[in-house]
């Protein structure tokens, strides 16, 4: 057990938490937050395990991947938020049409 | 590739191309449409005659296109193919003439003739197929191209008839596909071969082969209207008369019957099939269908429905002939393919004439119609006598050979079926004839149209007369060279006598 595995496990936990919230919550903003938390979990796994080199310098490749991933995440979040707002403007509720009235 | 290889393709193209062009013609381009139709039919006839001559002089007409890596699309003109091919080519020409007259002013004629040509293309393809997958391809194409014809009238009844037709044929097609693929996985080939291509297959495959046979026959039996797969045929009567003629005499039911002949002769081989023990049940099924169809026909007042049930019964003669699995019965079955076509198309043309000219749809409305339309009813009478099996009309020849063949194969029960069926045929045709010729006409016909001083339009009258004459001629000149009987004997020889 080392910090690498500790944070990787935290990553797994965040991924699962986010997935739970994504399934359970109906509010779209909440779902978007959940996706972001999930993403952070995956990034954490990627980077934490890069620390297993046995030297002070961790593996740089996953770091680059995660930076790419963060940008993807913010792009997707922006698109999702816009979509959510527009949908709410149409329906009056920030929920998926099929979930409304449940 | 020499010229001979192109001819089967040309035969296909001679109806496919006019058909495709016709789709794009405006409704009112009647003359061009007619020209295209007739030209296509004549070109096809010429090509077929050319091939007849060639095959007789032992030319090989074969086209091969690669379809799948190990499977080819094969078009080949063998004796059996040519028999069916000639029939459908001649009848297409006749039916086209008839349809031109029949659909004089109805809407959607371009669509109708387009699909009509496609339908014939598919039938010709079925006839020329050199292996089972090619057969399957055209068989399904036939389904697709006849559906629009069945529902052509566009009424609610037509829609339901079309639905019923589809349910039956799609289901049948699926079974046929399954049987075909299965067979292919066992043998690695699907090439039609005299005496079949399964002889080398090991003993352990016999159960599978029995099931495959059942699948193929079931798939083909839908179109051949074997009981209990016949349900669509009487319903399909809502289609215009030329379509009924096409369905009953040329294309659909014939394709089914022809397929059964192919499967028994060129896929399984008669001996092999008999050895499997599958021909006898098939013979019984055919016999049942013959009796059942006749019985049902007895109680129909609607003329076309009566003819439809008659078709169910008559087509099964072909199946019966091949299922008896003897050389003489084979002749009877194969020749009936042609004979039944000619006779039945005559009857449908006549029924169409009655409906179109006088508005008569029911047997009970036919009193005295013989005096109003003598030529039509003469043709009808010839057809009806043929159906009953009375000499000298062609139907007699078929039944004669079937009976002889059954005796030769030691299946005496067939004689009773034939006799019973003939009696029933008489029972449902003779009252019609009696009513038409010997009863007083009614005060007014349901819906009369006048065509000058003729009894009806020439395009409507000519076709039934021609086909009736042909049926008569084939019966009387049965032993002439190039007669259907001659070909049937040739085919039977190929199957039963090793060179």
């Amino acid at each position: 057990m080392s910090a690498a595995f500790l944070f990787a496990l935290v990553g797994v936990g965040l991924f699962s938490l986010g997935l739970y919230a994504l399934i359970v919550h109906a509010h779209l903003l909440r779902k978007i937050l959940a996706i972001n938390v999930m993403g952070s979990g995956v990034f954490l796994v990627l980077v934490a395990l890069a620390k297993r080199t046995g030297e002070s310098q961790p593996d740089a490749v996953p770091h680059a991947l995660v930076i790419t991933g963060i940008v993807v995440a913010v792009s997707a979040t922006a698109l999702a938020l816009t979509l959510m707002l527009k949908l709410t403007a149409e329906t009056g509720r920030a929920e998926l049409p099929e979930d409304q009235g449940k | 590739m020499n010229w001979d290889a192109w001819i089967p393709l040309l035969v296909i193209a001679s109806s496919l191309l006019p058909g495709l062009i016709i789709f794009f013609l405006a409704e009112d381009r009647k003359r061009l449409r007619t020209t295209l139709n007739l030209a296509g039919a004549l070109v096809k006839l010429a090509l077929v005659c050319w091939m007849l001559w060639g095959v007789y002089h032992e030319h090989h007409y074969e086209t091969r296109l690669t379809l799948l890596p190990d499977l080819e699309l094969v078009l080949r003109a063998g004796p059996l193919s040519l028999l069916f091919l000639t029939l459908s080519t001649i009848l297409w020409l006749v039916t086209t003439v008839y349809a031109i007259g029949y659909l004089e002013d109805s809407p959607h004629r371009s669509r109708f003739f387009g699909f009509f040509s496609l339908c014939v293309t598919a039938t010709v393809g079925v006839a020329l197929s050199g292996n089972l997958i090619t057969f399957l391809l055209f068989y399904e194409l036939l389904t697709l191209s006849t559906y629009p014809l069945v529902v052509h009238r566009g009424t609610e009844v037509a829609r339901r008839a079309g639905q019923s037709y589809l349910v039956h044929t799609i289901f049948g097609g699926a079974l046929l596909l399954l049987g075909t693929v299965w067979l292919y996985t066992l043998t690695g080939t699907l090439e039609f071969t005299p005496r079949g291509f399964l002889n080398d297959l090991g003993e352990e495959h016999r159960p599978a082969l029995v099931i495959i046979f059942a699948l193929l026959i079931a798939g083909l039996g839908v179109k051949a209207a074997l009981v209990p797969l016949h349900g669509w045929l009487p319903q399909a009567m809502v289609a215009p008369a030329p379509v009924s003629a096409l369905l009953h005499a040329v294309a659909v039911v014939k394709a089914g019957a022809f397929g059964i002949v192919r499967v028994i002769y060129d896929v399984f081989g008669v001996d092999f099939a008999a050895g499997l023990g599958v021909t006898e049940p098939l013979a019984w099924l055919a016999a049942t269908t013959i009796i059942y169809g006749s019985l049902r026909a007895l109680f129909q007042d609607d003329l076309k429905r009566r003819l439809a049930f008659s078709t169910i019964s008559q087509v099964s003669y072909i199946t019966l002939g091949v299922a008896i699995a003897g050389p003489i019965a084979t002749i009877g079955g194969v020749v009936h393919l042609v004979h039944q076509g000619l006779m039945k198309i005559t009857l449908f043309f006549c029924a169409g004439n009655l409906a179109e000219t006088l508005g008569i749809h029911k047997v009970s409305e036919m009193s005295g119609v013989g005096r109003r339309m003598p030529w039509t009813m003469t043709a009808f009478t010839i057809g009806a006598f043929g159906m009953i099996g009375a000499p000298p009309v062609a139907g007699f020849i078929s039944k004669w050979y079937l009976g002889l063949g059954a005796l030769e194969a030691g299946q005496e029960w067939v004689i009773f079926v034939l006799a019973g069926s003939s009696l029933l045929n008489a029972a449902y045709f003779l009252p019609i004839l009696h009513r038409a010729w010997f009863q007083e006409p009614q005060d007014a016909w349901p819906e009369e149209h006048h065509f000058g001083n003729k009894e009806t339009a020439w395009a409507l009258l000519l076709p039934p007369l021609v086909t009736a004459l042909m049926a008569l001629g084939m019966g009387m000149l049965a032993s002439a060279p190039f007669s259907p009987l001659g070909w049937a004997q040739f085919i039977s020889q190929r199957e039963f006598y090793r060179p």
Binding site: L29, A50, G92 | -
Partner: protein, 321 residues
């Protein structure tokens, strides 16, 4: 030394638990606004976690994007959501951001416990030492043109990913512009304080962005981080009521938005015409070319992020005087 290790462990465990707890609260707190604030705090802790994992480059990106811009995006969206809901006048339905906190659901929870356990087991089953590609990276670092390995991977070894990355941003913006249309709430006048703040902070942000861009070649930093900071400058300007003048909102703006991907495409064509592979920089000029690419990318990223924050296509006439 013993005490130091203990402290390290305590710090890491507390940080990890804090992350999990915050993640949980973000997703369950009944108040939506609260959830957003907690999410910003969550980003903060994530940045600390990156630091603990020796990933300062990511920490920078997270500080700028994860905690900063995403927070601003979420807050702005939250505000618009309120306005929209108010317009729909569905009284009391989502009163003050309180949502019906759906009761704990057993089936998903059980399922996800199993998933988490399985994934946890998998993670623990991985070998305890693995060098990954670090050997290859350091072996080729010299010929990459930069000395920061993360920048080397991003702009050279896997520069193609970065090219596609720029396209992802562009696509998100295209999507947002294509979808949006919801009117912005009219901005109140910025007031003297905010005005001063933005006047002071904007140049600093731009300077910092330039600094991060420059330093990225040999130390943590680079185009993404610089772009994010630049984007933050844009956001601050937008928040202070500044709008792009109308004659710049058309083609000039679009050109800046695509400068990054265009630079990449140009580079790709250039490298291939000069006989190399796709994006194979000549070894000698690699550093310069990378800086050129990064500059274009920074401009694009910054502008795109700011445009994403604005959320709607800038109009060709001035809406706010």
């Amino acid at each position: 030394m013993e005490a130091l290790t203990l402290l390290h462990w305590t710090f890491d465990i507390l940080l990890g638990l804090g992350l999990l707890w915050l993640g949980w609260r973000v997703l369950t707190s009944p108040d939506l606004f609260n959830a957003i604030v907690l999410f910003v705090a969550f980003g903060l802790l994530m940045a600390l976690a990156w630091v603990r994992l020796d990933a300062p480059d990511i920490a920078l990106a997270e500080a700028a994007i994860g905690a900063g811009l995403t927070g601003a995006l979420l807050l702005a969206a939250f505000a618009k959501l309120r306005t929209v809901e108010k317009n729909h006048d569905i009284a009391g339905q989502l009163e003050k951001g309180k949502l019906e906190n759906r009761s704990f659901q057993w089936w998903p929870a059980t399922f996800l416990l199993v998933v988490a356990a399985g994934l946890g087991h998998t993670v623990l089953s991985l070998p305890h030492y693995a060098t990954g590609l670090s050997a290859e990276v350091s072996a080729n670092l010299k010929s990459s043109g930069v000395s920061n390995p993360v920048t080397a991977v991003l702009l050279n070894f896997r520069g193609y990913d970065t090219l596609l990355e720029m396209v992802v941003l562009l696509l998100a913006l295209l999507g947002v512009w294509s979808i949006s249309g919801s009117a912005l709430p009219r901005e109140a006048a910025p007031g003297p304080i905010l005005d001063t703040l933005s006047r002071l902070l904007t140049p600093v942000l731009i300077l910092v962005a330039a600094y991060l861009l420059w330093v990225g070649a040999h130390a943590p930093g680079g185009a993404f981080q610089a772009g994010a900071v630049l984007g933050a400058a844009g956001v601050l300007l937008l928040l202070s009521g500044w709008r792009l003048s109308s004659h710049l909102a058309g083609l000039p703006l679009r050109i800046i938005l695509v400068a990054g991907p265009v630079a990449f495409v140009a580079m790709a064509v250039f490298t291939m015409l000069t006989g190399g592979q796709f994006l194979e920089y000549p070894r000698a000029e690699a550093g310069t070319l990378i800086l050129f690419l990064e500059t274009a990318a920074t401009l694009s990223i910054g502008t795109t992020l700011a445009a994403l924050f604005l959320g709607e296509r800038p109009k060709n006439k001035r809406e706010y005087p």
